[in-house]
Symmetry: C2
Subunit: 351 residues, 2 copies
């Protein structure tokens, strides 16, 4: 009896220790354990989910005349198949919430179940939500996604993701509440710095004056910019300096911070500069595969230690069956596994 | 019999016509009908919802051991009380989704029900979600919040808000999908330009070069910037020029565009400049009341026609009972009504 209680106690202590461990340290350990920095993007599009899964969901009696509920069930089944197929290969998954929110609260239920299932399978999760707000509003997001939601007589873990993506157009006020919860919970944030899309240049590539009067500097963010001439800095570089300064107090034993950055693989030259500006930030790198970037494009996102970046692929993995005639829709999970292994080999060439 | 069918047909035609009418035209008509530009922010905080409502929700048998569901029910009841109390006074309500998402899918259900109830009561809704993403991801948000979600055999209106707030750090790619759905549906978007918080200066106040090489200009956005000297423009002003150009094709009979801007009341001098940069954009103005701005601060957000801005108040109205000893928690709805009337009078001084 005592042995059982003690064993259970130990498991609980180990789990608590692992969960509260520094986010970047957990991430580095997972990347090393799996031998690859791949993040699988769980971006389900209903029309691309194999017909046999959709049919089952939409014809189930409990879902009749409830198309949003049926869609959510189809997404959950599809995602579980993908997670089962890749969970021993990759350290991280990243569900993009837009593809769930489009189905309303039923879709958000599918989002929560997807995060839960990914955790059960030992994966680190990035809630790709790009949330942005200030003060108590940002705190509500932070508690909901990373912490505990206060309700009568206690708190409830709702989304309980390991990390979130955020947009810092609103400045430090919009970042601090996320950092606070992340630090307390052993979790992380990824701040949008240079995104992978073409028109990211509209705002992010604006060149700024650097005469000491421009921008408040957040929490010492201007420090790193000293010595750079006016016009030499872009908005995304300034954001990079902010991220570097915001993350300075949150560096773990691995040398990486719990404040990371989103840096698109489609701009390798810019990524190289950002790597120098933010040596301690983990990069979340979208744009590989379907968006056109290859292994050589993502190489500048890594540090010399071979760490510092996780590379996301969504469509290229989860809908790999579309280009895999041998397996087709029925073998979507196996096709995803094969595509993941191919991506792993591809990245090995440059790491 | 025919009379009934014809009447029903007419109601349907009128409703369809009203819904598809240009967003800004609908907004102007509603502001004129109610005689005020007030937007009530529905930002429920569970601990501030009167105890008698929380008790009812948490003690209901169907909610036992389901605290998130109970919280959602409490929010719905609270919001309906507020909406009933103010729906004949104000044209617009704006639920901030963070305060719903914190309760997961149950909270999102409360969000949908709140939007539905506001529509039933004839109010225009702004889904304050500050979403931001690109391509098909942004499209998923746009369809979910403003349009129809495609499912098997058709489409379903999910959130069906009249407008959304969006963050354009990602450039035109992140705005275009929202504009497309908004234009097709007679709906609108509000782009974050200059936010009301203190650290909005971190990024938004950076001064940029304006030599024709900086920023791609989105869809002709650089046009309006000609003649402005290098260093004279801030990031938020550049964003203002973008919003002006993005909205140029979406101007309705009222002279206002379906692409609006979020401009904080806490920076009146900056608002004056932005009013000139974006003459056709409707401003959504946060910061009045609890955040410290008063009627004179919001005045520069309006055009000479007395239109062009809606002024949001959240806490100052929905939790007015906290400062209203005569009514207290039991009279929270009446307290909200009285606070709304006081705000209406206050704004009249400057309009």
């Amino acid at each position: 009896m005592w042995l059982v209680v003690c064993s259970y106690g130990w498991v609980l202590i180990c789990y608590t220790w692992f969960m509260q461990k520094h986010f970047a340290d957990r991430l580095v350990a997972a990347v090393r354990a799996k031998g690859t920095p791949i993040c699988v993007g769980l971006d389900p599009r209903l029309d691309k989910i194999p017909e046999f899964i959709r049919d089952r969901a939409f014809k189930a009696e409990e879902n009749l005349r409830k198309p949003l509920r049926a869609a959510a069930e189809a997404i959950i089944e599809f995602n579980k198949g993908i997670i089962d197929a890749v969970c021993d290969l990759v350290p991280v998954v990243k569900p993009q919430i837009a593809f769930y929110e489009i189905f309303g609260f039923e879709g958000v239920r599918a989002y929560q179940e997807t995060l839960d299932y990914a955790h059960e399978k030992g994966l680190i999760t990035i809630a790709d939500v790009k949330r942005n707000d200030i003060g108590s509003t940002a705190e509500a997001y932070a508690l909901g996604y990373l912490g505990e939601t206060p309700v009568e007589d206690g708190g409830v873990r709702v989304f309980d993701a390991d990390s979130v993506t955020i947009n810092a157009y609103l400045g430090f006020d919009g970042v601090a509440p996320f950092m606070k919860v992340a630090s307390a919970e052993g979790k992380g944030v990824f701040v949008l710095v240079k995104t992978s899309n073409k028109s990211s240049s509209d705002l992010q590539d604006l060149r700024v004056l650097n005469d000491g009067t421009s921008g408040s500097g957040g929490r010492g963010g201007r420090g790193g910019r000293k010595g750079r001439k006016s016009g030499e800095l872009t908005v995304y570089e300034v954001m990079g300096y902010y991220v570097d300064s915001w993350g300075a107090d949150g560096i773990g034993e691995s040398g990486y911070s719990n404040v990371g950055a989103v840096v698109g693989a489609t701009f390798p030259a810019q990524a190289k500069v950002l790597r120098e500006i933010m040596p301690s930030a983990y990069f979340l790198v979208p744009g590989y595969g379907a968006q056109g970037a290859d292994a050589s494009d993502v190489a500048p996102c890594f540090n010399k230690d071979g760490l510092g970046a996780i590379v996301n692929s969504s469509r290229g993995i989860i809908f790999a069956y579309e280009k895999d005639e041998a397996r087709g829709p029925a073998g979507y999970a196996e096709a995803a596994r094969i595509a993941t292994i191919a991506m792993k080999e591809d990245l090995k060439k440059v790491l």
